[in-house]
């Protein structure tokens, strides 16, 4: 079963028929597993990884370190929830170390991000401090490299 998800994680556009051949299981079974996973949230979403830079429309990204005060009974979850529901927040993680939440924010320009930090994030009561790091270059995301030239096939056309 795990293999089905590994295949989909690599390429969400593989059809159930292709998967059933690859994992050597009947197609009904594969379709059932996928349907169920879509329903119960094992598969959350199918999406494409876009290199917006190619379109000349790259957004501005910032990684924000957020220090917060945990609350009784709910720990970090309640404040995290307050934060990650903002549409500008692309990813949010609770981390160990010198700060608590690592928040990846996406905006059209620097202005948009700084106003998000100044007006939305920093004023929250539990937020003690923020440090904003603007992303300068994206090298690798979701296991995909952005700037490396694609490793082309250097094999001879025929070898025995």
């Amino acid at each position: 079963m795990r293999e089905i998800f590994e295949i989909l994680e690599q390429n969400a556009r593989v059809t159930p028929e292709q998967i059933c051949t690859m994992v050597d299981k009947p197609s009904e079974e594969v379709e059932k597993i996928i349907k169920q996973a879509e329903k119960n949230g094992t598969i959350i979403k199918y999406k494409a990884i876009i290199n917006w830079l190619k379109l000349g429309q790259e957004d501005v990204w910032a990684l924000i370190e957020v220090r917060v005060a945990p609350q009784r009974g709910v720990g970090f979850d309640a404040i995290a929830e307050r934060i990650y529901q903002f549409p500008a927040v692309y990813s949010a993680y609770l981390v160990s170390g010198t700060y608590d939440l690592a928040v990846l924010v996406r905006g059209k320009n620097m202005q948009e991000i700084s106003s998000f930090v100044a007006e939305k994030l920093a004023p929250l009561e539990q937020v003690q401090s923020t440090v904003t790091h603007f992303l300068l270059k994206r090298y690798k995301e979701n296991g995909v490299t952005f700037h490396l030239p694609k490793e082309t096939n250097k094999r001879l056309p025929i070898t025995l």
Binding site: Q18, T21, M22, V23, N153, R155, P157, I158, T159, L160
Partner: protein, 401 residues
């Protein structure tokens, strides 16, 4: 590529050795030239992984250069590498080799095969080989001064040579049996029973067994039988293997030979005069591959398995009946239903649909009626290649067998 059927060149040039001049030439030179001149070809005729060597292994190679490991190593190879290999063979197949005396690092398994033959063959000794088989087997035997004795490995017998057929060809001159399972070009593996039968035969006639197990790690839903791990076989087997296929390291040229001391001593004699030592940087990378490469090997095997299932299923669907290959990364479908010869099929498929496969006859006359399709290529390419083959077959019709 050796085409046994094609006429041998006569030794016109007195400066070229008779043996080399009369060595059968490549049967697919024309095919290769044609292929190289075309664009947008999907090639299923490649015999190496499409994966680039895993990064941690490449990085170890780079590091070795940075640290200045640019000198020869000992003739037998770096002690650390031989040690890792001894552990690996013991762990994987339960066969123990002494890292000091029973393992030799070679420049690719090709060198190992050449050494094994040259170190053991006397003039006119006969060596049993499967047919079809990897192209270097007959050529290397001839160059070592021996005579290749092909034994048909038929589809009816899962492309494994039958002991009856071997026994029928054993003469006073028979010195060795050279086997290579998992097999190139058929993808066949050898079962325990079949291996045991060959072992019994080897004992009965006191034959040497040269076992080329380069594809040992690429088996699917089956266990690889390491020939020297069979009872009493270590003493008469020369095991040849390497990291090229398992760790996607073809270009690094790292192979090894494992055998009892007397064999390794003999092979090392030739190796020390002809090769000195395998490339140092590649040996360093190989150590890293053996120490930390298992996850990557398993990932690649899993990926090959998916492609294998897809290719075999599609080949059967389009009417090319295909034996289920349980090893290596080749499918060996029968094209008899098209009524074409292998070479004709391969050439027309290339010209008409731009898909390259290798005619089975490239691997010996018993390969007639088959083509080799390598599935070590991306899934989309496999799918597109099979769509084109489907079109080709529909256009040319089946049934003329």
């Amino acid at each position: 590529m050796i085409n046994i059927k094609s006429p041998t060149t006569k030794a016109q040039d007195s400066l070229i050795s008779q043996k080399v001049a009369t060595l059968p030439p490549s049967g697919i030179r024309k095919f290769f030239d044609l292929l190289s001149s075309m664009e947008d070809v999907i090639s299923l005729s490649i015999g190496e992984p499409d994966f680039v060597t895993p990064w941690h292994v490449r990085e170890a190679g780079i590091y070795s250069l940075e640290k200045g490991y640019t000198m020869y190593t000992s003739n037998s190879g770096m002690p650390e590498l031989r040690h890792e290999l001894a552990l690996y063979l013991e762990f994987r197949y339960g066969v123990s080799y002494h890292p000091e005396h029973e393992i030799l690092i070679t420049t690719g398994s090709s060198e190992g095969l050449d050494l094994a033959l040259r170190a053991t063959i006397n003039p006119h000794d006969e060596v049993i080989i499967p047919n079809p088989c990897y192209v270097a087997y007959p050529a290397d035997i001839i160059l070592a001064g021996g005579a290749p004795i092909p034994v048909p490995a038929n589809e009816e017998n899962n492309f494994v040579i039958r002991t009856d057929d071997i026994e029928a060809r054993i003469t006073k001159q028979t010195k060795a049996i050279l086997i290579g399972y998992p097999a190139n070009p058929t993808g066949a593996i050898m079962s325990k029973k079949e291996a045991d039968a060959i072992a019994t035969l080897a004992k009965k006639y006191d034959l040497l067994v040269i076992s080329d197990e380069l594809y040992a790690r690429l088996v699917y839903g089956a266990e690889h039988i390491c020939f020297p791990s069979l009872p009493e076989m270590k003493e008469r087997t020369i095991l040849i293997s390497g990291l090229s296929k398992s760790h996607a390291m073809t270009g690094w040229r790292i192979g090894y030979v494992a055998a009892e001391r007397r064999f390794i001593q003999a092979l090392t004699k030739i190796h020390q005069y002809t090769m000195l030592s395998a490339p140092t940087m590649a040996q360093m990378a190989a150590i890293e591959a053996l120490r930390n490469g298992e996850v990557e090997v398993e990932r690649m095997v899993q990926e090959y398995n998916r492609r294998r299932r897809l290719m075999v299923k599609r080949l059967n669907e389009i009417g090319l009946s295909c034996f289920e290959p349980k090893g290596a990364f080749y499918a060996f479908p029968s094209i008899k239903a098209t009524g074409m010869y292998s070479e004709e099929f391969a050439e027309r498929l290339l010209v008409e649909e731009k898909v390259a496969v290798v005619p089975g006859t490239a691997f010996g006359p018993c390969g007639e009626g088959f083509v080799r399709c390598c599935y070590a290529t991306s899934l989309p390419d496999i799918e597109e290649a099979l769509r084109r083959m489907d079109r080709f077959i529909k256009r040319n019709g089946l049934n003329k067998a």
